[in-house]
């Protein structure tokens, strides 16, 4: 049946394309290999059917117009909401395929787990793992790399970011609003708890055990507590560990299979030691950990610092119930924090992230659970202008009849409901931000400002930046796109800035060689910039190597092609054509940030104030520029993405020093 719909969709597509050559559907020759949103594999659980077919990618990435358009734009908004016959057919095909999948419920959503594990869910919902697939930067980067590598990169990036989506054979490029809900959840519950083999360093290519909610899950210690819960229906209610329509009760997993590796660093290393088949070592956080004092001397694990009580510190674990079954907590035990804090932060609409069943309603009927609590669909949330104050009393009291709101936000009650949800979302985001700050502030140390010279020749000072953790380098993981830098400023007594290093150009980029303002000769290089960002370095046709934002060696080859390396990649530790130049601080390491301020800049009234900040961001803006041509999900422009990325920069440490005016200065 699915295939029939697929064929019908393709025929209709061809007809529409012939009638409307300017349609925004991508050309078949340049598209992602199809995926079984149309074809057989989605019709059943992975493993049961592995047949695949070729068909064009679906272009469903068109999102509604910006929020609060002028009346003149209303028609445009309404038209955007309209669905063409082609889209309707394609969506019908997708819905059918997804419906087939839901019958089997191969990979239950985290929402299903939330019923008994609400605290775990809440922690996870705002985590970087939960954000992994939603990230517009990730999706655009993946697309751009695939394009640069002529499609050969395949699912290399996205396999880690949505293992469920890949197991469901979803297209690589697809609007998140159209993805399977569990796929959209990124590294969701089943990604760890439905793995039952110790895969080792496999760049995220783990096999997930498919099965509905009753399928046993993997747990660190096994199912003793589950057995105990099952043995006390009077306390926990009737539980249904097997699909039995005759039984009324709460669906639970049928068992917990002990999987010791969940507690080991090696489990994290399966995704956090990333090397491509051509030998390119994109991330080596796990390898760094294995060489660290934390592993070799203290015998600590990743989980000790990232799932413990205090983020970034091996401070032990909380103790609490693992589940809340029928409002009855299970006996307390070691309780890990599933926020698993990292350096990433969300730049998408707060109605969409953190994951919240009360916020997002599935757009497709096929995705909707029996009781859908969601207030609005993702596309509707994108129309909600929370920054303008919608739903807040201060805004709403000024709303008149003539004010126009896009549907469904034309209902004031709904706007108030949305605001209530957003308040909870912001609260959770703030909690995550505090945890992130705690983690990063622990990972980096900033010493006092040391003045070496302050005389008629100018001011010379320095500050020591240290790695505050002994578990890995800082930054680690995706260190080639992590922005950690020092901003040094000198003010005169009038508050006028006399010197700055670590400033940002108009795009929000540091003035390093990747800043387009610097590259185009509009701003000078910040030669005193202190940055810990690792650099991608690619081999040139001739002339050595150069830094590139993306590690695609197109100077060597007009058709970059990802294939297995034809020489042992362990020998060089990388392919010949590309590598990373790691500039991070390894455990125990420190580095001075040195600054020279010429006397000519110190011509204001003293005393002078030196302010030094250690700042961490998620990704550099030059990456946003480089990947922008791939397009951003959630209808974001490159400039919006950059602004939100920069808005997330946070000061980890700050040092201040006041210098009395040197009488020898002019």
């Amino acid at each position: 049946m699915t295939r029939c719909i697929l064929l019908l969709a393709l025929l209709l597509r061809a007809a529409v394309a012939a009638a409307e050559p300017a349609a925004e559907l991508p050309a078949p020759s340049g598209e992602t290999r199809s995926s079984c949103l149309f074809a057989a594999p989605l019709a059943s659980c992975p493993g049961q059917t592995a047949e695949s077919s070729e068909s064009p990618r679906i272009a469903l990435g068109h999102l509604p117009a910006p929020a609060n358009p002028a009346p003149a734009d209303r028609r445009a908004v309404d038209e955007a909401a309209a669905v063409s016959p082609y889209d309707a057919t394609v969506r019908a095909a997708i819905d059918q395929a997804h419906a087939d999948c839901f019958v089997n419920d191969c990979f239950p959503s985290a929402k299903a787990c939330r019923n008994c594990h609400p605290d775990h869910y809440q922690e996870w919902s705002v985590s970087a793992h939960a954000y992994a697939q939603l990230s517009p930067v990730f999706n655009a980067m993946s697309s751009k790399l695939i394009k640069k590598n002529n499609g050969t990169l395949g699912d290399f990036c996205i396999r880690c970011h949505t293992p469920v989506g890949m197991a469901l054979n979803e297209p690589i490029v697809m609007a998140n609003a159209d993805r399977h809900p569990t796929s959209r959840e990124g590294v969701t519950c089943v990604v760890c708890h439905r793995v039952n083999q110790a895969w080792g360093k496999g760049a995220g290519r783990l096999t997930l055990v498919a099965g509905d909610i009753h399928t046993p899950v993997s747990g660190p210690v096994g199912g003793k507590r589950l057995a105990m819960v099952m043995a006390h229906p009077e306390r926990y209610g009737v539980l249904k560990p097997v699909p039995d329509p005759a039984t009324n009760g709460r669906d639970v997993h049928g068992g917990v299979v002990p999987f010791f590796q969940l507690t080991t660093p090696g489990f994290c290393g399966a995704c956090h030691d990333v090397f491509a088949p051509n030998g390119f070592r994109l991330e080596d956080a796990f390898s760094e950990f294995k060489a660290s004092p934390a592993a070799l001397e203290k015998h600590q694990s990743c989980q000790d610092c990232h799932m413990g009580i205090v983020p970034g510190v091996a401070s032990g674990y909380a103790c609490g119930p693992a589940a809340l079954v029928g409002n009855a907590p299970t006996p307390p035990r070691k309780r890990t924090n599933h926020m698993i804090v990292g350096p990433d932060y969300s730049i998408v609409h707060p109605g969409i992230f953190p994951h919240n069943p009360a916020a997002v309603r599935e757009e497709r009927a096929v995705f909707r659970p029996p009781i859908d609590q969601g207030l609005a669909t993702i596309r509707e949330w994108l129309l909600f202008d929370h920054e303008a104050g919608w739903g807040q009393e201060s805004f709403e009291k000024h709303v008149t009849k003539d004010d126009w709101f896009p549907s469904p936000w034309d209902d004031q009650t709904r706007r108030y409901q949305a605001r209530d949800i957003l308040d909870a979302q912001f609260s959770l985001l703030r909690k995550a931000a505090v945890n992130r700050h705690q983690l990063l502030a622990t990972g980096y140390r900033l010493g006092n400002v040391v003045v070496d010279r302050f005389d008629e020749r100018g001011l010379s000072f320095r500050v020591l930046v240290c790695n505050g953790t002994d578990g890995h380098g800082v930054p680690t993981g995706f260190d080639a796109e992590r922005v950690v830098f020092v901003r040094a400023m000198v003010f005169d007594s009038a508050g006028k800035l006399r010197f700055i290093s670590g400033d940002l150009d108009a795009n929000g980029d540091l003035r390093d060689s990747h800043s387009s303002y610097v590259h185009n000769g509009l701003l000078p290089l910040d030669r005193q910039l202190f940055s810990l960002q690792t650099r991608f370095v690619t081999r040139n046709l001739r002339g050595g190597e150069r830094e590139q934002v993306l590690a695609v060696p197109y100077s060597l080859d007009p058709l970059p092609f990802t294939r297995p390396e034809t020489r042992p990649f362990t020998v060089l530790g990388r392919p010949v054509a590309a590598r990373k130049h790691k500039q991070i601080l390894m455990p125990g390491a420190s580095r001075w940030a040195d600054y020279e301020v010429p006397a000519s800049k110190l011509c204001g009234p003293g005393p002078y104030r030196v302010v030094v900040q250690l700042i961490a961001g998620m990704v550099p803006v030059n990456l946003v520029r480089e990947i922008a041509s791939a397009g951003f999900d959630f209808d974001l422009s490159a400039r919006e993405v950059a602004s939100r990325v920069v808005a997330g920069h946070e000061v980890l440490h700050e040092q201040r020093l006041t210098l009395q005016t040197n009488p020898t200065l002019k």
């Binding site: 499609g151 150009d505 108009a506 387009s516 001739r542 050595g544 150069r546 092609f561 034809t566």
Partner: protein, 566 residues
């Protein structure tokens, strides 16, 4: 050196820079938007009352430079105060323009020539936009994943469910898959070496099969069925276009066959808690080997075992990789003498230690190789050390690498073991507004540096100097500047233009070399390469070169090559 000579040199340098600067200006070289003298007029320092406290206030009042610097209002909580160009570090000084006069002069052809080429090719240059786009375009499609020649088991980076793995007795989990891939090259080429002519249609096929076991373990086998290895070269399946004769190079010899893995991943039971450092990478079998970007070792077939330790670090080194190599069964020996090709020496053994270290500002490679042979070649100890870094000028970033290599016979000299040193420097940069590449490479060979191991097609160690210094690797056409590291100095200057999102490229190069021992081996040459990606599998390459040897007639070559990747 006398003070007069020093003074004269200073004047000469200054005059040269002045000349370069003036020529650059005359030729319409790129103007900086803010030459130092203009800064005060363009961007004004904010008024004192508007300059807020660094961390407490959040105001962009008085910011005159928002066109160039980020508006502080959107930065929270990492506040950046309103700042002017006069406050940012390292504002350019007049002398900086002078210091970078030569690169600016060499960047002059960037705009006009590139635009002309773009017009001729009906293509768009790869430009770097300054301001980020404020328009949202939605998601764009990506190319389809090109299929491999054969995929058995899991698809190579293909979407879809993954099969359960097989757990070995050591605890490793494998999911076997077999992939066949490679590259086919075919070329029509003509070369005239001052009377001696080559005109042929040559073919080369590199075919690989990989049995993939896990993320770290694999077995790779490779064939080159269309070109056969000889003792001192390779015979390509080709057709001589002048007399119609054909050359048969078909063979089934294994060119590559090795197993590669990670000891810790292979035996996970030995370290279940991941608190031991057992992650030794290793490989064993027949494999290619490269060191110092091919300057020291460029061997395409060697029977060896390697053991690698990666992600080592110290307080100053962020990443240190050390690899020990032992090769048995012979290596191809290189000779600094002209006329002696790289020759297989079946009795030699090779021992090497290859290292690479990342420092804060540079990457250093230090490699030591010892070849032991009591028959043909003689023993040879060779080393290579290099520093690769980006130097920041005021207006550009310069990619630099400096290599120092040396070879020392330990048991008497032979044509394959000579004493010599090689200094090799590479510089490149990317001109403003574009993604193009300008490179300037130079070498100085003192005495007779001998590379310890080089494949039959690898020629001498100086191929990295430029396209003119390296053979195409297919057929009988050689490099226009065929040079060995034998008392010589040379350089190349090249320009690589990118069009159509880098899928079309034009490379122009000028190069030459001169013997330093008084021999008349000088050569100058120039060449152009046009290469273009066609579809998702093909590349077409057109090469044209012309050169003049000091002791010979003008030599020229013209090649058309098509490559298919699969």
């Amino acid at each position: 050196m006398s003070s007069k000579a020093i003074k004269a040199m200073r004047w000469l340098c200054t005059a040269s820079l002045l000349l370069c600067w003036s020529v650059a200006r005359l030729l319409g070289g790129e103007e900086l938007l803010f030459p130092p003298s203009v800064v005060p007029e363009v961007l004004q320092i904010p008024a004192p009352e508007a300059a807020a406290d660094a961390t407490e206030n959040d105001s962009s009042a008085g910011l005159q430079s928002e066109e160039y610097l980020f508006s502080s209002t959107v930065i929270s909580p990492a506040y950046m105060p309103p700042c002017s160009l006069s406050a940012i570090s390292d504002a350019p000084r007049p002398i900086d323009a002078w210091l970078e006069a030569v690169p600016r002069l060499l960047s002059v052809p960037n705009k006009n020539c590139g635009d002309c080429l773009a017009g001729a090719l009906h293509s768009h240059r790869v430009e770097v936009p300054t301001r980020l786009d404020a328009t949202a375009y939605g998601l764009h499609p990506v190319p389809e994943r090109p299929l491999l020649l054969m995929e058995w088991g899991e698809e190579f980076l293909g979407v879809g469910p993954l099969a359960p793995g097989i757990e070995t007795c050591s605890g490793a989990v494998w999911r076997p898959a077999f992939w066949v891939f490679g590259e086919y090259r075919t070329a029509l080429q003509y070369a005239d070496y001052g009377g001696q002519q080559v005109s042929e249609w040559a073919n080369r096929l590199d075919l690989f099969g990989q049995l993939n076991l896990s993320g770290t373990e694999r077995v790779l086998a490779g064939l080159r069925p269309a070109d056969e290895e000889l003792v001192d070269g390779r015979r390509f399946s080709s057709l001589d276009l002048r007399d119609g004769s054909s050359i048969n190079g078909f063979n089934s010899e294994l060119q590559t066959l090795f197993f590669e893995g990670d000891f810790g991943e292979l035996f996970p039971y030995l370290d279940p808690h991941d608190v031991l450092r057992l992650d030794y990478g290793f490989s064993v079998g027949r494999m290619p080997l490269l060191a110092q970007q091919g300057l020291l070792i460029n061997e395409d077939r060697i029977d060896a075992v390697t053991v690698t330790r990666n992600t080592l670090f110290t307080k100053r080194i962020s990443n240190l990789r050390m690899t020990g190599v032992y090769a048995w069964g012979g290596v191809h020996r290189n000779s600094a003498d002209f006329g002696i090709p790289n020759t297989e020496d079946r009795n030699s053994h090779l021992l090497a230690l290859l290292t690479e270290s990342d420092f804060a500002c540079s990457t250093a490679n230090v490699d030591v190789v010892y070849v032991q042979d009591n028959t043909l070649g003689g023993d040879l100890l060779a080393f290579g050390a290099s520093s690769i870094r980006r130097q920041q000028g005021y207006f550009n970033t310069y990619n630099t690498s400096l290599h120092v290599l040396g070879s020392f016979p330990t048991n008497g000299e032979s044509p394959f073991a000579r004493q010599g040193e090689l200094l090799f420097a590479q510089t490149s940069w990317t001109p403003h507004h574009y993604d193009d590449l300008i490179y300037l490479n130079a070498f100085l060979a003192i005495d007779e540096f001998t590379s310890p191991a080089r494949g039959p097609l690898a020629g001498g160690p100086l191929g990295q100097t430029g396209l003119l210094f390296s053979a195409p690797g297919i057929g009988r056409v050689g490099a226009p500047i065929n040079v060995r590291a034998n008392d010589a100095a040379g350089a190349s200057l090249g320009y690589q233009y990118f069009f159509d999102e880098t899928r079309q490229q034009v490379v122009w190069e000028f190069g030459g070399q001169q013997a330093t021992d008084g021999a008349n081996r000088g050569v100058v040459a120039t060449g152009v390469r046009y290469q273009r990606a066609v579809g998702h599998h093909w590349i077409t390459v057109v090469d044209m070169t012309v050169g003049k040897r000091e002791s010979d007639n003008v030599a020229s070559s013209l090649r058309f090559e098509a490559r298919a990747k699969f």
